[in-house]
């Protein structure tokens, strides 16, 4: 349960999230944002172990996207369970993130 961050290389940060992705992860998530300041940073988010997410989680993803350059952000969201993909699609997030 929680968030783990791994720096893959100079340009890429991997974020692994597990359990319920909701407001309780807000502080951890903000910490990740404040620690990664460089522009042009790539992110890959492993959501394989995410069981559920709420609108606060969507908000965190939007914050990350903004941090990573808004429309030019390079964020991959990976390994989502089908129901999680469905929720992200309902929010139209597949138009803003690279989801699979």
């Amino acid at each position: 349960m929680g968030i783990n961050v791994v720096r893959v290389n100079e340009n890429e940060i991997a974020i692994i999230i597990s359990g319920r992705f909701d407001f309780s992860m807000n502080n951890d998530f903000r910490k990740i944002l404040s620690e990664s300041n460089e522009t042009g940073q790539k992110y890959s988010i492993d959501m394989g172990a995410v069981e559920d997410l709420d609108s606060a989680a969507l908000g965190m993803l939007l914050l990350l996207r903004e941090k990573a350059g808004g429309d030019t952000a390079n964020i991959k969201i990976r390994k989502c369970r089908p129901d999680i993909v469905e929720m992200l699609k309902m929010a139209n997030f597949h138009t803003m993130f690279d989801i699979s």
Binding site: S55, L62, L63, M90
Partner: protein, 563 residues
Amino acid sequence: MKILIAEDSSLSRSVLSSILEKFDFVVIEAVDGKDAVDKYIEFDPDIILMDLMMPVMNGYNATKKIKELAGEKFIPIIVLTSMSETDSLVKSIEYGADDYLNKPYNADAINAKILALLRIKELHDTLNSNKKKLEHLNEQAAAELLVAEHIYDSVLEKGERILPQVRQYMRPVTNFNGDILMTAYTPSGGFNVMLGDFTGHGLSAAIGAIPAAETFYRMTERGFSIGDIVVELNTKLKTILPSNMFCAASLIEVDQERTTVSVWNGSNPDVVITDNKGKMINRIASSHTALGIVSPEKFDRKVDIFSLNGDEHIYMCSDGFLDARNSENVKFGMSGYINLFSDDTGSNVELNDIIDRLFSFAENGEINDDISVIEICVDKDIDIWNADDSEGRDNKRLESEWVLNLSFDAAALKEINPVPLLLNFVNGINAISGHKERIYTTLSEFFTNSLEHGLLGLDSSLKESAAGFQEYFSQKESRLAELQEGSISLNLSQKMSETGWQIIIEVIDSGKGFDHKEETLTLGDNVGYAGRGIPLVYKICESVEYNDVGNAVKAVYPLNTPL
């Protein structure tokens, strides 16, 4: 550190005092239980040593009394006992004592015990002060939430504006809802409904609700389509809200004749349309980002349009509805929601059934989010002119003749719908309240015909089938985008006639015209051309005349029409 010793034997008192003074304690002496209580009140010691057998008031009662006086504050009391007195030890603990010391006294043991208890006291004091701070913050938050709730309710007028054809079930998870429902008639007698779901439940939702409500009501009243409204809402919310906050929303617009419904769904669960038997005939999934996320340039205003018979029900809900869980932690989910409308029993689902089904599902489970479900009964028999909100308008009608002529070229027609703009202008100079809807309908029908048939050459027979209906609107979109030339003139004037003041509405387009004789239909005979719009205009206006070519139409609307 102040230490209170309650001991009736002066010898014991002085032995204890001398030990404690060696460890730098300030010693206060009491000679019996009552004296101990008095000295406690007077000196507020940090810790108390209490003998049990004392005259006037014994140590048990003194302990009990002091603990009562201390209330939430922790005052450690150590009772002084002999090794053999197990019973009295148990009893003293029952009376509130915290620890005990066996006689005879050992200086280091006494000091160690006192220090240990003082450590516990310090911990207790910190906890207590944190608790007080938290309580204070809680009260403050509750007070501010009340303010937010007040703002929220007054902005939304707490359901007072909800139209009679809309039924709602809204269950907030905190004092007030992060979900908002707004409904309003359009100037033409159609209506708009918006169900919004803000991120968060409290203040953040209230902050977003203020501009959202203002925009929705103002633009609906002025006749803007939900496409225009969502563009404006998105721009406003994008500016105001922080980037992790947004408003999932579904909006529908039903026209005055209850023949079409436009739907815009941004991140809310599917909007469901059922027939008069409660069977689902359409579901409109979210195809847009929630309001307040994407920049205005990237925002997609596209609505889906469906034809109606006039007896359908439309359902909307917020995602809290899908998130309800049963005892096995399984979500109600989209499938649970959609299944509500796939009963083969042929019985009509009502809002109450839907709520019952959800709650029987979530019995022993949990519901963590605001839940809103809306049922809209499209009832073509409800008086469509209810829309008239002549209340609060005391400006008088201008009793003079005026003429307003406006012309729009292809480039302008791509960008704006002049009808609401024009009507607001007219209403501004010349209060036509009470007639606004009828004049709006007439102007709007003429304009739509000129645009869709005169300029874009669309074939209205397409609208006779459901598939064609969609095709019609997508053709309209693409042809309008490609439109290079052509113009539409809108002429409005007010004149005095023998029978009184009248508004003359004239619309001329640059198109080839059409066989307007086909349009002289009766109200009931509503297939074809533009729904029942034009026949309705015949009913509203004193006269409707086309020119021979059929590219110019003129209607006379008498202002002395009974309302």
